[in-house]
Amino acid sequence: MSRAPYERPITSEWIFRHPRYLRYMVREFSCLFIGGWTLLMVWGLHQLSQGPAAWAAFLELLRSPASVGFHLLTLAFALYHSTTWFNLTPKALPVPFIAAAHYAGWAALSVVILALAL
C-alpha cells in the first residue's frame, strides 16, 4: 500500500469558523483603538507643550464628530480588552479570587480617578 498524505491548505477563513475565533479577533483588534487613542494623547501632550492656544486647539479637535465616534468605539473596545484580560488572568495566575480582586481594583481605581479629575 502506498502512502500519499494529503495536506489541507490553510487560509484566513479560520477566523469565521466559530464565534470564539471572531471574538478573539475582536479582542486583538482592540489594540488598534487603544493604540490609536494613545497616539491621539501623544499628540495632545505635544500640543500641551506648545502652550494654551495649542491645547485649546487640541480640545477643539477632540470635539469633532469623528473624534466623538472614535471615542465611543475606543471605550467599547477598551472595556472588551479589560474584561477579557481580567477573565483570563486566573488561567495565567491561578490564585484564588484573583479575577474578583482585579475587577474590584479596577472599579476602585476608576472611581478614584473620576473623583480626582471631574
Partner: protein, 113 residues
Amino acid sequence: MARSNKPIVWGPFAAGGTLTAFLTPVLVLLTLLAALGHVPEALAYESMRAFASHWLGKLALAGVIGLSLWSAAHRLRITLYDLGVRADALVAALLYAATLACTALAIYDLLKL
C-alpha cells in the same frame, strides 16, 4: 532548541496589557467627556500643565504612554501574522521602532514642560 528572547518584548506587552486594562477605560471616559463638550477639571490647561510639570506626572505619563503603545504594537504584530502577513521580523521591527519613536517624542515633550 535555543531559548527564545521573546520575553524582551512579551514582558512589556504583559505589563502594558495589564496597565491598559486597569486604566484606559476611565481615561477614555474623561476624554470622551471633553469630546462631548464637558471638559473635566483635570483636562483644563493649567491642571494638565501642572501635572506634566511635576516629575511624578512626567514619569506617570511616560510610563502609561510607553507601555500602552508597546502592548498595542505587539498585539498588532501578532494579529497581522494571524491574518496571513508572513514577514514577521519586518513587521516587528517596524512596529516596535514606531513605538519607541512615539514614546521618545512624548518624553521630549514632557521634558519641555
